[in-house]
Symmetry: C2
Subunit: 424 residues, 2 copies
């Protein structure tokens, strides 16, 4: 443990030192480094794939699930995709140095507010090795140094990728030490990392709910939490039935294992008899299991070939991450709003309605990172929102909310230029 | 303690409920409430002053220092000043509902990012009763509910003010419960408050360094820390001597007890023999005690009537909050930057120079909320910066940095409007 702690302390200190220079590095140098990283990932793919297949084989032998194995696995075309994502980040505008506000006061003082990097970002993540690349390049572009702590199961892959990133970046002029990866897999090390608030300015946990919660509770530095999405779609009495079917189907079925997928469908009692059979039959074709309240069951029970289960209290507020949806009939928009306030996780919530007043109330009153009228919650994503990339989806209100891209990895600084000005 | 905990839990819950409605209250209602509060503070001044003189007499009897007594004391003209500050906040733009970004995607989805309140702000503060008014009105205007926990010594004054604020606000249409003040003075209550992350969205501690540090360490919710200013002024070899004297004099003398006052003067060795006698004589006239490094002492020791003390190691990085300054001669801009990096608190730092390259390096490389070229650090203030008001000065990088005004009490929400859009 002592050796591991030393490794962590030394690397974090080196990242902090590098971050000072990285903070005002010209955009061209950062972009050149990103392109060099993209190229190196393709050129040196044999190294990466060799390391990855060791991780894969070991995980397979130890009984990892096929879904998890698939997340761990790299191949030539996946690496090509990762390299392309890096090239995309190179094309995005550099947030650092951007002037947010500017004014000249009556006394002649020039005051401006300029974006600056946060400093050192710590990342604690699981399984998928592409996260090593994603986080490194977003931090680099936003002028932040990074300390990476990936999962044990992907250690060899992560080390291979980080080494290639480091070499390419430093050769292109990124300050030595800006990208750090922790090699020790000692679990106690994470607790130590969470205390290092002088070296790490922001911590980003990426993984399951228990990892995120534990990091948020213990960390001495700011943490951006998110990624837990208990998402509702409310079908109002004034909904267009076709839109409501298409939206709820897409939100549940298009990719059920992610945080912006539908978990609970709320349906207004006046439209329920028409709407519920339509969506239930579509969902059934896709294999969706429906956890229904009593009124929903009463409407659906006579239909053939549906996977119906009576809803238990714990189904409300549950993130299924699977082809399962909870369904509840409500008497009013107010009841839907109250249900979402009680059970939502502040991620993405949608209303389907042609009634503008109802839509406006929903958009105003629901307290979530992303609120939708007549669209699928599956759009909550930095790429889909036109931000080009994302480091995660924040469900907190502080600092950043929703998809976090380059700007959200910055702070700002007030710059005041005078000519001998004193306060009177 | 049980009663106190119940009071806190009940009031925080009521604040949370009120915050839901307050979040989308029209600007006119909020401004009307602010004007009503301002008027009530003047009209009902007898109640406030009666409560305040009880606090004052009790504190005087228990041996409070004259400086602290002065901070505690209210009178008719101070209340008039406080009421005017409230009227100023009514004239400021409402940050809530402001569209920060807006775009229509190629698929027709309309995406906008709109400012929303944070929710419930908890404030823990000491001594000055005007803080009760400042925080309440800034929170109201930014659509946040507030839970106030002031110091024991000002309890009667704070309760009188808060009661008047509540009555005026609720009469004007602010949701009942939006302004809460804790009456119990049980110290253990603060620790309980720091755990209530479901009810309180942001905590603002205002007071001494030990209060702020203890809150930051223990709070389960986000905290904005700040107000601790270890501020340096660096006089470069290319400084204009007159400007350098005026700026350092102003920064130290104009109001020495506040966070943006000068603590350490750094002087380039080439200009030190000319500059140090000039500033030292001016400072001496104002009664400034100078804690000097050896090279400074060598230059100043033969001058008459100076209060010179050899600097101890703990003088570097110390916030004096008094007519005391530390002085150090440095060999280069780099040495000045290294000293500031090591000892600064990230609040306000200044360079005095006519050399644009040196100024640019300083403004780029110093990592502080406010960086100055050729101006006094005393300008770090929401009012001085043209923000109209401030709830504090943040020395952290996360969420907000420097003077925190209305905008800094908000978050944002992504609003997505479609017409049946689904993700493909």
């Amino acid at each position: 443990m002592q050796t591991a702690t030393n490794e962590l302390e030394t690397k974090a200190k080196a990242a902090k030192a590098a971050s000072r220079k990285l903070a005002y590095l010209p955009t061209e140098v950062k972009n050149r480094a990103l392109l060099a990283i993209a190229e190196a990932i393709v050129v040196k793919q044999d190294e990466i794939l060799a390391a990855n297949s060791k991780d894969y084989n070991e995980s397979q032998a130890s009984g990892m699930s096929p879904a998890m194995l698939d997340r761990l696995m790299l191949n030539s075309s996946r690496l090509e995709g990762i390299a392309n994502d890096v090239r995309t980040v190179a094309t995005l505008p550099d947030p650092v140095g951007e002037t947010i506000e500017e004014r000249t006061l009556p006394n002649g003082l020039q005051i401006s507010k300029k974006r600056v990097p946060l400093g050192v970002i710590g990342a604690i993540y699981e399984s998928r090795p592409n996260v090593t690349v994603d986080i490194s390049v977003l931090c680099l572009k936003s002028g932040n140094a990074v300390v990476l702590r990936g999962g044990k199961e992907a250690l060899r892959s992560n080390l291979a990728l980080a080494t290639i990133i480091q070499e390419a970046a430093y050769d292109a002029g990124i300050p030595q030490g800006a990208i750090q990866i922790i090699e020790s897999t000692d679990r106690a090390l994470v607790d130590h990392m969470l205390k290092m608030k002088d070296a790490i300015d922001l911590l980003i946990p990426r993984g399951g709910a228990s990892l995120i919660q534990s990091v948020a509770e213990k960390a001495a530095m700011p943490v951006v939490t998110g990624g837990i999405g208990v998402c509702h779609t409310y079908v109002d009495k004034a909904a267009d039935l076709n839109k409501a079917v298409a939206i709820a189907y897409n939100a549940k079925v298009q990719r059920p294992t992610v945080c912006n997928a539908l978990d609970t469908l709320l349906v207004h009692t006046e439209i329920a008899p028409q709407y519920l059979p339509l969506i239930a039959q579509e969902w059934a074709k896709a294999g969706v299991e429906m956890h229904c309240d009593e009124r929903t069951l009463a409407i659906l029970k006579s239909l053939p070939s549906l996977k119906l289960v009576p809803a238990k209290p714990e189904d409300w507020g549950r993130e299924f991450l699977a082809l399962i949806a909870a369904i509840k009939v409500v008497d009013s928009l107010d009841e839907a709003l109250a249900h979402i306030e009680r059970y939502g996780s502040g991620h993405s919530e949608a209303i389907v309605t042609e009634d503008k007043t109802a839509a406006t109330r929903f958009l105003n009153e629901v307290d979530a990172a992303c609120v939708y009228a007549n669209a699928s919650t599956r759009f909550t994503d930095g790429g889909q929102f036109g931000l080009g990339a994302e480091i995660g989806i924040s469900t907190q209100k502080f600092h950043a909310r929703g998809p976090m891209a380059l700007r959200e990895l910055t702070s700002y600084k007030w710059i005041i230029i005078g000519d001998g000005h004193v306060r009177t």
